[in-house]
Every structure is written in C-alpha cells, then in structure tokens.
C-alpha cells in the first residue's frame, strides 16, 4: 500500500466514524429531543455527514501527487 492510500484509508476510517455517529445521532435525537430541537439536530448532523462525504470524494478522486524528480 502506498503512503497516499494509507493516509486516504486513515481519513476514510475517521470519516466513517463521523458518519456512523451522525446516523445514530439522528435516530437518537428524533426519539429523545423535542420535535423542533430534533429537526435542528438532524439538520446539523446531516450537514456534518455531507461535509465528511465531500471530503472522502475529494481525497479519493484526486490524481496522483506531483512528482519532483524521483518522488
């Protein structure tokens, strides 16, 4: 595994934790918070998840790094 893919994988694991916690959080807040607060929580947790997914797409779709000489 290249260093680039190792870093990508580490970032993916981290992002997966954010996504999992956000998903569980949306479910939990819908059951334990007042409706208006639950909607607000679901909104911010959804935005967080979207941010995390965007980061994953950017990191994995990128072309290879610049090669200065023998890099």
């Amino acid at each position: 595994m290249t260093a680039q893919n190792a870093i990508r994988l580490a970032m993916t694991v981290f992002t997966s934790i954010v996504l999992a916690l956000s998903a569980v959080g949306i479910r939990w807040t819908s059951q334990h918070q007042a409706p208006s607060a639950a909607v607000a929580s679901a909104l911010v947790l959804s935005v967080s998840s979207t941010f995390a997914l965007v980061a994953l797409v950017i990191i994995w779709r990128g072309t290879g790094p610049r090669q200065d000489g023998n890099g």
């Binding site: 680039q4 870093i7 970032m11 911010v44 941010f51 980061a55 290879g64 790094p65 200065d68 890099g71």
Partner: protein
C-alpha cells in the same frame, strides 16, 4: 528528512512555517485528534450506551468532571485551534491546500466567536436571550452536543482536505513548499 528548500533561521513564525512546520502540524494533529476522541466518546455514551447527557463526559471528563462544564477550557481550546490554524497557514503554499485551510480558519473564527459569547456570559454571570445557562447563537436552535459535533466536523473536514493536498500536492500545483511535509520531498531528501 529535511526538504532542500527548508531554512534554519528566521523568526518563530517563519520557522514554524518552514523547517518546524512538519513537527508543528503533527503536534497540532495530536491535540485535535485527542479532542475528537473526547467528542466521539461523549456521543457514543449518549447515542449508543444511552447515558443521560449530563453524565456523558467523555474520557477525561469522567476523571475530571469540571473539564466538561468549564467554559474556560472550551474557550481555551477554541482559541488554540484558531491561533494554530492562523499561525500554520503560511506554510500552505499551494493554491488548493491554502484555500481549504483558510476555509477551516474562517469557520473556526465563527466557532471561536460562539465560545467567546459563552465565556463572557460565564464570567459576567449574565446570560443572553433570557436563558438559565450561557447560550450561544446557534444554541438557540441546536442542542449543545449536536452543535459541537457539527462545528468540529465542519472545521476538521476542510482541515484534512487541506492537509491532504499539503502532503500530496496535485500535479497542477505550482506552489513551492518551504517545509518538509509533502511526501515527495521525503523521497528527494532520502539518501539514494
């Protein structure tokens, strides 16, 4: 492992953005990830273990409960984040990496402002919006645990994208790094 362009003299700000940038970035990441672990654990305690919110204090908060309720600590961390994002920014010389890092800095500025509001209320004893506890603007709508998860995510995501581009500059990037962070610079510096 030092990059060929790395200098060994200059002011503190110049050095943490050149020959000390890699060490400074790693140290900063240890602090940021440690903070993340606390938030991960706190949300896990609430969402998965079903602990009452006031009892979910993360890991350090279990040992030192005052840490979670201390507005000074929360404000201090927000300030450290803001200063580190600002101080380490000149080391991001590429166009894309700097754009993402600057986005994180901008979002953190507002996050810091929210904590400053809380800090002022805690110090003065007068809470805004007629609330019984110190309350930030976004807290008018969003509960605190979810709001913290949100702020930390939307600051951290542009940070890691910026760091990714900093470690692995795209072929189209023409900026000349002054530090040893970029992966290809290590190959250049390694003995053949």
């Amino acid at each position: 492992m030092a990059h060929a362009a790395v200098g060994t003299s200059g002011t503190f700000m110049e050095r943490i953005n050149s020959d000390w940038h890699e060490v400074a970035m790693r140290s900063f990441m240890v602090v940021v990830l440690g903070h993340w672990m606390e938030h991960f654990l706190q949300t896990f305690q609430i969402y998965v273990l079903g602990w009452p919110v006031p009892q979910a204090k993360g890991m350090l908060g279990m040992v030192f409960p005052g840490l979670v309720t201390s507005e000074v600590l929360h404000y201090g961390y927000a300030l450290v984040m803001l200063l580190a994002l600002w101080a380490l920014r000149p080391g991001f010389t590429g166009k894309q990496e700097r754009w993402w890092w600057t986005l994180a800095l901008g979002i953190q500025f507002f996050h810091h402002f929210e904590h400053a509001l809380l800090q002022v209320q805690a110090l003065s004893g007068h809470n805004l919006f007629g609330r019984p506890v110190p309350t930030s603007i976004a807290q008018l709508w969003v509960p605190r645990v979810e709001l913290h998860l949100f702020y930390n995510t939307i600051v951290f995501v542009p940070m890691i994208v910026g760091m990714y581009y900093h470690l692995f500059p795209p072929e189209t990037e023409t900026g000349r790094p002054q530090c040893s962070c970029a992966w290809h610079s290590r190959s250049l510096a390694s003995p053949v």
